[in-house]
């Protein structure tokens, strides 16, 4: 369910989606943000205390202007964990959220019990350039995000409202989110994680959609090279958004790794 937390005496108002109880699991969303329809979070709530915050600048979370780079973002997550009374947690991060999860775990090695990085950003390989998704419109983006862009779930993602006013508001909201993301990802999504990834102490699962065309699976290898303890799992018939495209396989992989 949706909750709001005041962090640092209200400097940040943080919208979170929280489900279940048990060991805490912090879920950090990608550049697109949470959709408001994220059944995999509720499903993970059957085994964990799931806390999925909107990064400031996303959803109803405020204080985005105080976060200017990945260090600010990692320190924000440290603060959030402190104020929620969970000094350490499993951290699952997707895409941009994976980059921020890795930074959060590297800048304080006691924060992450286990780390799951899903189609994660954070590195740049010249031979495998990541497509410039900032320049892609919604219809083009589908081809990069989904294993099967014609599937109903993909079509739902790419749907554009007919109503002009709704369209403008959707555009404004998308712009607001991506503008925030640009602080970490523009113009090349590399902010020096390669200098810090070696610090990550948590065992790390590198979870990738086999047909991820946005951040291709070769990037899982880059994380494996730089983080001490990793295992890698590729999900079949999934692209950059396996939690939406193959939710069952995604949930199983996350649960097994964190429980194992």
């Amino acid at each position: 369910m949706k909750t709001t937390h005041q962090i640092r005496d209200g400097k940040f108002s943080v919208e979170t989606w929280e489900f279940g109880s048990g060991e805490p699991l912090l879920y950090l969303h990608g550049a697109g943000g949470l959709t408001g329809f994220d059944p995999f979070l509720e499903e993970l709530g059957k085994d964990f205390r799931v806390i999925a915050p909107h990064l400031p600048g996303y959803g109803e979370s405020t204080g985005g202007e105080l976060i200017e780079d990945v260090v600010d973002a990692a320190l924000f997550y440290h603060q959030l964990m402190d104020e929620l009374g969970i000094p350490s947690a499993h951290i699952v991060g997707h895409s941009m959220g994976g980059m921020l999860a890795a930074e959060t775990a590297a800048l304080d090695i006691h924060r992450a019990k286990k780390l799951v990085l899903v189609g994660s950003a954070g590195f740049w390989i010249d031979e495998h350039p990541i497509p410039d998704f900032f320049a892609l419109d919604l219809s083009e983006l589908g081809g990069y995000l989904f294993h099967d862009p014609t599937s109903p779930i993909a079509q739902l993602f790419m749907a554009i409202p007919d109503d002009q006013e709704q369209l403008v508001e959707m555009y404004v909201e998308r712009t607001r989110r991506l503008a925030m993301a640009s602080k970490f990802l523009w113009p090349i999504p590399d902010r020096g994680l390669k200098k810090r990834a070696h610090r990550i102490a948590a065992p790390t699962l590198l979870l990738w959609g086999e047909s991820d065309r946005l951040i291709p699976p070769v990037y899982a290898g880059e994380f494996a090279k730089r983080i001490k303890t990793t295992s890698t799992e590729m999900l079949k018939a999934a692209g950059h958004l396996p939690m939406y495209e193959q939710p069952e396989a995604f949930i199983k992989a996350v649960r097994n790794y964190l429980k194992g």
């Binding site: 900032f134 989110r177 523009w186």
Partner: protein, 434 residues
């Protein structure tokens, strides 16, 4: 009424079918479409045109900054302004302008503008655009979320560097300098007039009103569509209790003048088509990086200058539509006089930024249009705003105090032991031929 003769310096030889073959004239346009031998001729043709504009009595010569594109080949407009500074006498050098958020440290711009002002005897207009999203975000990699904040900081630093009498330290967020000490300082004191070119961001209106800068609205939708933006600007000025002085607004307009309306269509129509369909063919994804435009500008319904929506508006328009809807002002001198007067009055505009070379127009056509405009249109419009004082034009040294470049005869310069005749009619012809 003042007239700045503005050049974009386009590449005139983009291939037929460009729009279908390539996704964008900007950012990732293939490099092999540029031939530097042709470029050599084009730059020299274009500089000739700017110099001619000075001799014909235009008030300003306009140049601007764009990157990685076939639409306008001036990555550094300061080089162009420097090139014409010694072969022109009277016209203002309107550098509109430098994208100040791109330069580290931004006092580089303060220095170069001061140099231009001193060299030209105080003829500089200093323009400070944010720059298009294609230029600043996609070509120069600036983060969209912070470009405006960086721009405002650069603006404040440059102004201080011109105004402060003593060395000072600057502790900004984007620029930190222990010693700011501008040598040379500008000839115009405390600084040259400042014009802010904009594509319609609502924040720019407040910014201009608060600082007393001139606002130059640069658009290719023409004066009818431009009225919405001009009205927005004047509303802000009125609300803040500022004088509604037409000279505090500049407006860019494409102008195609010929002996008759019919001749104008025959002469100019293919070049307009080239301009709108090749020079402005920008991939939608490059038009507007997320965060480049603020939510208030998006909500105000101001269409980006290029990209999908801009192209859709122009889709299928004929010459007649372009003329009727005011995208271009075209026709006989009489028609142009009437339409232009109507346009300037409806916008309350005292500084016209006129485009007479656009797209693929060859030098002969440009020259004929310039001469006709200077003779048959400009003199009739001079007195349009009798009750207002232009406080945004340069204030140069009196003529007798201005240095005169030593005369040289370029035709007689010898290279490798043989005399060349660079300015001979034959050489001039070969310059503009492909």
């Amino acid at each position: 009424m003042k007239f700045t003769w503005f050049h974009l310096m386009p590449y005139r030889y983009l291939p037929d079918g460009f729009k279908d073959k390539y996704r964008s004239v900007w950012v990732d346009i293939p490099r092999d479409l540029y031939d530097p031998r042709i470029g050599h001729r084009l730059y020299n043709d274009y500089l000739d045109q700017l110099e001619l504009a000075d001799r014909l009595g235009f008030d300003g010569l306009g140049v601007n900054e764009h990157h990685q594109n076939g639409y306008g080949l001036m990555p550094s407009p300061n080089i162009m302004a420097a090139a014409i500074s010694r072969r022109t006498r009277n016209a203002a050098l309107v550098v509109l302008g430098n994208s100040i958020a791109l330069y580290n440290p931004p006092i580089r711009v303060a220095e170069e503008f001061a140099m231009l002002d001193v060299i030209s005897g105080g003829r500089l207009v200093a323009g400070f655009p944010v720059g298009t999203s294609m230029d600043v975000n996609f070509c120069y990699g600036e983060v969209p979320a912070t470009i405006r904040e960086k721009y405002y900081e650069a603006h404040d630093l440059i102004l201080r560097s011109w105004k402060e009498p003593d060395v000072f330290a600057f502790n900004g967020k984007y620029t930190k300098l222990r010693y700011v000490n501008l040598w040379p300082k500008p000839l115009q004191q405390p600084h040259p007039p400042i014009w802010i070119p904009g594509g319609g961001s609502v924040e720019t209106w407040d910014f201009c009103a608060d600082h007393g800068h001139q606002y130059s609205f640069l658009s290719y939708f023409g004066y009818k569509a431009g009225k919405k933006v001009a009205d927005g600007y004047w509303n802000v000025m009125a609300k803040k209790g500022k004088e509604l002085n037409p000279y505090s607004l500049g407006f860019a307009q494409v102008i195609a003048v010929a002996n008759t309306d019919k001749e104008a269509e025959e002469l100019y129509a293919p070049h307009m088509d080239y301009f709108y369909n090749r020079c402005l063919h920008v991939y939608n994804g490059f038009a507007d990086a997320p965060g480049y435009r603020t939510p208030s500008t998006i909500r105000a319904g101001i269409v980006a200058q290029v990209g999908k929506e801009a192209s859709l508006r122009r889709e299928g328009l004929t010459w007649k539509d372009f003329v009727n809807e005011g995208y271009i002002i075209a026709g006989s001198p009489k028609t142009v006089r009437e339409r232009l007067t109507e346009a300037m009055k409806s916008l309350n505009c005292g500084h016209l930024m006129m485009l007479q070379q656009i797209g693929s127009m060859p030098p002969e056509l440009v020259r004929a249009g310039m001469e006709l405009f200077a003779r048959e249109v400009m003199p009739h419009m001079r007195g349009l705003w009798p009750n207002f004082q232009d406080k945004w034009s340069p204030n140069p040294l009196p003529e007798p105090e201005r240095a005169m470049p030593a005369p040289i005869d370029l035709r007689r310069i010898e290279t490798n032991g043989k005399t060349t005749h660079a300015a001979s009619p034959a050489a001039h012809e070969s310059r503009s031929a492909k």
